[in-house]
Subunit: 338 residues, 2 copies
DNA sequence: TCTGGCACTCGGATGTGACGAGTGCCAGGA
DNA sequence: TCCTGGCACTCGTCACATCCGAGTGCCAGA
């Protein structure tokens, strides 16, 4: 096992490297952190840390930089989550309070996260499957054409056009609307299929086909998780990455355009608490030189969606985690209020 | 005035530079284009073109590159719009035909444009102000709380929460819904204010306040042009820009994050036909080394929104313009169908 | 008006050497 | 046993010098 001092040395290396973006040597370490020992001792410790794979030398005659494994140890054992300061918290709350609708909440959240962390922020729209139904509206646009509008408790609105197999009068439509709402308003999406199962039976035979069509469209809408949208911001921060630019930035930009990749990335994160994926821990190859800090947020006790930050492995983990946690918390509050 | 041959020389310079990304010299020019004259003659022409400000030398002993003014002349006089090939057209149509809803149409359009031009694509959501109302729905969520849902002919849905000054029964609500729809369904947004002006008069005094509140929320929604959303794609193509990377890419990424800037940019473009803004012609400073090719698209004869492409001034203008025109045309068709 | 020739310029690539940060190892001391 | 100071060594970076060649401008002649 690593001695206490060696862990301190690792911590110091991570901190310095994150700060300066340059490999750190033994002398600089002893000067900037009072470890109470000489550079030579630190050198021995560093050699040991390198043997264990926590740090590495880019070149023979250069200082050390942390490896993914080193960052992992740092995040797990050596660093806490840096809480936001009072003013920061107030700023977050004020900024989010100004939002006028769901789109705006998400947009503001992205901006905020990107600014706070100076990295790329990704925010998922509140997911449908965990939400509850607030209201279902059916509009007759043509004799055999119905528009289905679904309103969720998170303020999200989904609409679908339904082409009916047969003309559908205003009377049955109103009937269906009333029955539907009385059954599923306030219920969770997951429960809806069960609740509407026998609805067609209540209608005249000639209308049953249409009712079934409408219902199956509704269920499709509920299930359609792949429709989950997300918003991205702060891509300009990618330019701060490093000097070896195009090579690093390219795959990241590509990854950010693939919503599927991002959704998967966020999906892998645990529901509660925060998940940190460092470098090669990311399944997607293009993100092998980045770290992803993500967490869930929710309107109640439960997470309804995820948000996160993508940045270089060489990032300020405590600060980033603090920002993610704080923003997630406040977004949850805002959603719960509205 | 410039002689015919000098224009040809300019055209050749632009084409070669766009192709090779390297300053082009007199010798290379005569080899690759059969101008029928010797390099020495071309040199004289180039000197003249330089005097007029159409081309410039990055360094004393280098070839020439076109200036913004040179590109401008090229676009205005020397180049046409390169039409898409048959297969390309079919591919565009097929791809767009697969869209399931408005979001999907816009998303696909962005992807398509980005792929075709290998540049950054920007597509504005169909604008509200030019559209017509398809349906207005009012839902009572609580005694004094109404949700207003507006559905446009382009398939867009906007919802607003309205807090009423007094409780509002289902009866008057249904009444208002019916009157509203009979008056404004199918009408253009611009006409709506005039059409609903006297609506409160038809209601009982105690409901008038609520009716007015609902109406003013509706009008706000219609006017709220700044809410116009847009979608961006193909940012990874920025990495192909050049070698002097971070300096060029940074401000562009920043500009792309500022929806306001982009909306302005697209807004400046003419309604019909295509607009090309080259380098410093762009008002926004960060885009001074890029060109923007934009055009309007519409569901009918009229443009309802804009779309465009952002790329280096050194871009394939004929090809880009062809792609923009083709995509705009097909998106219009798709919107008209749905 | 065009052409071939020629001297000139200057950026980029290549090579060389000095410098210095950082290392590993070792012998001596607490 | 662990820490420390010293020392030789490595190697990347920087500054400077050199060379090469693409490209130019200009001029005299067709």
């Amino acid at each position: 096992m690593l001695s206490e001092r060696r862990l301190q040395v690792l911590r110091a290396i991570v901190q310095d490297y994150v700060g300066t973006e340059e490999p750190v040597g033994s002398k600089a370490l002893t000067e900037r952190h009072n470890l109470g020992v000489s550079p030579a001792t630190v050198r021995n410790d560093m050699a040991a840390l390198e043997d264990e794979g926590f740090i590495a030398q880019p070149h023979t005659s250069a200082g050390r930089i942390p490896t993914d494994k080193g960052y992992r140890l740092f995040v797990d054992k050596l660093a806490g989550v840096k809480p936001m300061t009072g003013p920061e918290r107030r700023a977050i709350q004020n900024f989010l309070d100004g939002a006028v609708d769901l789109d705006d909440v998400v947009a503001r959240t992205v901006r905020l996260l990107a600014q706070l962390t100076r990295q790329v922020a990704v925010v998922q729209y509140p997911s449908l499957t965990r939400s509850t139904v607030r209201h279902v509206e059916l509009l007759s646009l043509a004799p055999a054409r119905v528009m289905l509008v679904l309103i969720t408790d998170t303020g999200r609105v989904e609409q679908r056009m339904v082409d009916c197999p047969a003309p559908f009068g205003e009377g049955p439509l109103a009937d269906l609307r009333a029955r539907l709402n009385s059954r599923i308003a306030g219920r969770r999406f997951a429960d809806v299929p069960r609740l509407v199962e026998d609805l067609p039976d209540a209608f005249d035979p000639e209308d049953r086909g249409t009712v079934s069509t409408v219902l199956s469209t509704l269920l499709e809408t509920l299930v359609e998780e792949n429709e989950e949208r997300l918003m991205i911001g702060g891509t300009a921060n990618l330019t701060r990455f490093g000097h070896d630019f195009p090579l690093t930035i390219r795959p990241v930009l590509e990854a950010l355009e693939e919503q599927v990749v991002l959704l998967k990335l966020l999906g892998e994160a645990g529901d509660s608490g925060m998940t940190v994926r460092i470098g090669h821990e990311n399944a997607y190859e293009g993100l092998n030189s980045t770290s992803v800090v993500s967490g869930g947020y929710g309107s109640g006790n439960e997470a309804v969606a995820k948000l996160g930050v993508v940045g270089p492995t060489r990032m300020d983990y405590p600060g980033t985690m603090g920002a993610v946690r704080a923003v997630a918390r406040y977004v949850g509050q805002i959603l719960a209020e509205s």
